[in-house]
Amino acid sequence: MSDTQQPSPLGSGSAEADAAAELAEIQRRQERVIESAVVPVWSWWVIALALVAIGAARDSHHTVVLAISIPLAAVVIAGAIIASLPEVRRRVRVSSAAQPDGRGGVALASLILLVIAVTIALAVILTDNRVPHPLTISYGAGAAVLVIGGPLLNKYLSRLMLSNARQHMTDAPRPGAQWRGLLSSDPGDHSPGHAGRTNDGGTA
């Protein structure tokens, strides 16, 4: 059936522009939901500050300081992680189709390993060279990696989730499979598989 045999659902000469605006709105909402799901920036800072506190406490070599500050920092880190989960905030849970796949886990693990590697390597080097406050400095360096890398990880995960969400729509064997071209950054990205165009047969 041709589209021209039906009244345009958008009902005017600017139907195409209206449809494009609707699609842009749909994409914007999707991005907002995914942005809500990533770890908030403040959470990276809280964890980083807690790491520095642990380093400083260890440098103090004071038993009471260690006994209080390290468990406290651990609780703060755990709390920041839990509080940053969108489900815990009881706000929204991203669609399972958009959830980051193994690449998201690898990216997160890589960041954690990088923080640990930087912290340990610097601690060893500084201690060997008898630099004052080696653990405070090394934990601070690890924290800096976290503060820089955390938001970068957020961006990567956001892109990954958006890509997954669109891929889900594209792979599905239904009319919604035409999302990819529309919701991509390239407006001309319409794959040959978009049968709707050729089958419509009508003109605007």
Binding site: S8, R32, P175, G176, G181, D200
Partner: protein
Amino acid sequence: MSTAGFDELIHAPTRLEIVSLLAAAQWADFKYIRDELGLSDSALSKQLSTLESAGYVEIRRRFVGKRPRTSASLSTAGRQAFEKHVAALQRIVARSQQDPGARPATEADRAVPGR
């Protein structure tokens, strides 16, 4: 293929925003939807009720402690309707791109009717 699939219920601007948001989520808290869309409680309740009546949205009401907590999710029917609606929109846009004589969209064209 036709624009069958274009859904007038979803097409309404506020409902489009709600359904678009829910399409990207497994569920969303009432307050989250309200804040994201800048709606009043009553306005959102009304729209959600309309979507629920159509079978597009499932509302879950529960208590966390003594506090009532309401969340919404897109039903299977709602998700299918949304995907068909998106496909219909895509066809409309694709058709204009296929037609070389089509007037290029302007900023003024981008205002969705009824907003």
